[in-house]
Symmetry: C2
Subunit: 415 residues, 2 copies
């Protein structure tokens, strides 16, 4: 399959399923909001495609670029590839989210009528709860702060021990402003053991929030090293979360009590959808350049920003357990990497496979590094970089499909 066909297939599946889910939503106001957000996100996609080459030219001029180690020994391995291209989708994402916040003030139906009639007629406004705005602005501050720290890291090469806690700083605005519940609804089987149906965690819940932020940012950052993998996994997870959100808003069987979801639950999922749609769209814009063979690298700028956005959606949407199921490959890769990260097993500077210029295939080192990329090569045999990325992304899709299946089968039994 050519590069364009691969990208088109990815985009079709990623955006197609959520588009179908939108048609299931009975609430007109919610549906209008999501369509408006989709329009803004589409503009965000175009903006990203426009901006990435410009940002890449600037970062390259400043010497923020690297060589593609998986192509060493071929002519493509000698070309410096601009780094930190994630700056473009990150900034466009923030603008999309701000635009979307603005749209919330208006009745979308009257807004469409207003534009159609040549900016005349009545423009109805909608009341907005202050508590919603608090969450929204805290999310904006947190994601923006993380994007900034990611870019600072790309430019200044911060030591990894400091890097690890950067998400802690970034998640502070969210932590301080968070006013939602600090407990978790326990699964029904545990209630049989005498545990309460709702466990109040208090301050521990806030610790959990920080941990989730640190995990999401770093776990995407270390499942990397293959062209298109960081942006690809982000795109798939964002689309899966989006589908989950939309099904919950629609109250599809298995998602909600067989009808419209309760207002509180619904708002959380709408909020998350408002973050995931622009994330998926801008990430797809980045993939246009980052897919194999990469013309740009995404940098920590992207992985940090994307990871934090997903974590914020999970926290404020109140579905962090489901989120962790979507992230199963990341969880596995993180746990499997721990022996090397903690220095129990020798950890080289780059935990990449070895490229054989003669065959064009990748193989694990003689002492394979402990991560999912190398494990995939060990289990499924040598392959080219493009095929390896597709295999890893297929695993991501499988884990998302598994989550949806479990969720559907366990309805009523679990919670």
């Amino acid at each position: 399959m050519s590069r364009a066909v691969q990208l088109a297939a990815l985009g079709l599946v990623g955006f197609g399923l959520p588009a179908w889910a939108v048609t299931l939503i009975a609430d007109v106001r919610a549906q209008q909001l999501i369509v408006a957000c989709a329009v803004v996100s589409f503009l965000g996609f175009l903006g990203t495609v426009y901006l990435v080459p410009k940002v890449a030219a600037k970062t390259q001029a400043r010497g923020i670029c690297g060589k593609d180690l998986n192509k060493r020994g071929t002519p493509a391995g000698d070309i410096p590839i601009p780094e930190s291209a994630g700056l473009a989708p990150g900034c466009v994402f923030l603008l999309c989210v701000i635009c979307f916040e603005l749209l919330h003030y208006y009745d979308i139906g009257s807004l469409v009528g207003f534009v159609r009639s040549g900016f005349t007629g009545e423009l109805k406004t909608e009341p907005i709860a202050d508590s919603w705005l608090v969450d929204y602005n805290a999310a904006l501050a947190t994601i923006g702060f993380m994007l900034f720290l990611g870019f600072s890291d790309d430019v200044l090469d911060i030591r990894w021990r400091v890097k690890l806690i950067l998400p802690l700083f970034a998640s502070l605005p969210l932590l301080v402003a968070y006013s939602g519940g600090t407990g978790i609804a326990l699964p029904k089987p545990l209630a049989a053991l005498g545990l309460p149906p709702y466990l109040e965690l208090g301050i521990l819940y806030k610790v959990y929030m920080v941990m989730l932020g640190i995990f999401c940012t770093n776990s995407i950052n270390i499942l990397a090293g293959v062209n298109g993998l960081e942006a690809g996994q982000t795109f798939i997870v964002a689309c899966a979360v989006l589908l989950h959100n939309l099904l919950s808003v629609a109250g599809w069987p298995g998602w909600g009590a067989g009808g419209a979801a309760a207002p509180g639950v619904r708002d959380g999922h709408l909020f998350s959808a408002g973050l995931m749609l622009p994330l998926a769209a801008t990430t797809f814009g980045l993939l246009v350049f980052n897919w194999y063979p990469s013309k740009v690298f995404v940098g920590d700028t992207f992985t940090y920003f994307a990871g934090m956005t997903i974590a914020v959606a999970g926290i404020l949407g109140h579905f962090s357990e489901t989120l962790l199921l979507f992230l199963l490959p990341q969880v596995f890769n993180f746990v499997y990497s721990l022996p090397q990260l903690f220095g129990i097993v020798h950890c080289p500077r780059h935990r990449l496979p070895v490229f054989d210029p003669a065959t064009g295939l990748l193989r694990p080192k003689d002492a394979p590094d402990w991560n999912l990329v190398n494990l995939t090569l060990q289990l499924f045999g040598r392959c080219g970089e493009n095929a390896l990325c597709i295999r890893l992304l297929a695993l991501q899709v499988a884990s998302c499909a598994l989550t949806f299946g479990l969720r559907y089968l366990l309805q009523g039994y679990y919670k």
Copy 2:
């Protein structure tokens, strides 16, 4: 005067007057909050002093540095000076503001008792209005976004036409979340002309907000080119605004109706004080390294972040007219620079004076550039760089003193 004495004198005047004003405040809760904020800001000062050399080493390693053009021809002119040191006070400032937000949740008196008794005893919480949190988080998002864009500019060298509108993007979170009044109280003399006492501006007020953000960031950015000038003017303006805020909270004669200020007015000034205290403290930490002879340059990172912080304080504190009086030298320099900025008069890459290595003095070019730095040299004669900076900062102090004097004399007549 030696370097240390100059810095000490600046710090003493800058922090001394607001410290005196705190003693005038009768409201215990407000006084406690300000003292708590001062403690956090002092930690911020220490943090900045700790971080600046580390950040400077990192930016220098990445090649983000420049030579001191006002020392060309001497050995000091050949040393590359690290740029973008404003990253350190910027990040520390954001952390201070977040800490301060957290402190708002607690009764400060009970917090002190809690810490004194070895973290036992009752920790009383205070109710926080959601509308306050909205403003706070919007301010945080805006300032953080501006800091990020400033740093991006330092790294990527964005074209100046794009640069000019960066504050527009950064001020969007504030603009969207802003829910305060959108009118201005007109001066009493204008009421005699038949104008209403309160003029509702509607959308024009939001345009004014954006303009103020663009003006503050760029006007500090172009009153520059002398060691310590950018950070020095920021420090003086921040201290003046802080003094104004504290006098307003205290209801000092001329500030408020001769007693405690109305709750709405008071909250705005408390909010602004919570931004100005950490700004003054972290800027002073930066000045320790940036004062003549500079060991670091502040970069657009600092000027953008500082300008936006001051603008946000003026907007959310509702004293933007007084703020513009404090910024008289910047207003003058901006207007005086317009012929060059618009290309009516030839504009070189750097609008700096000429340095004479033999005498160590600065003089204007034969065709002097149209800015305040050169005008000061033309009016008051040649001088060294340190003396020039002190003269310009003295002008800033004078314009702040004038504002306070006018405000005191015009009480009752003006508004």
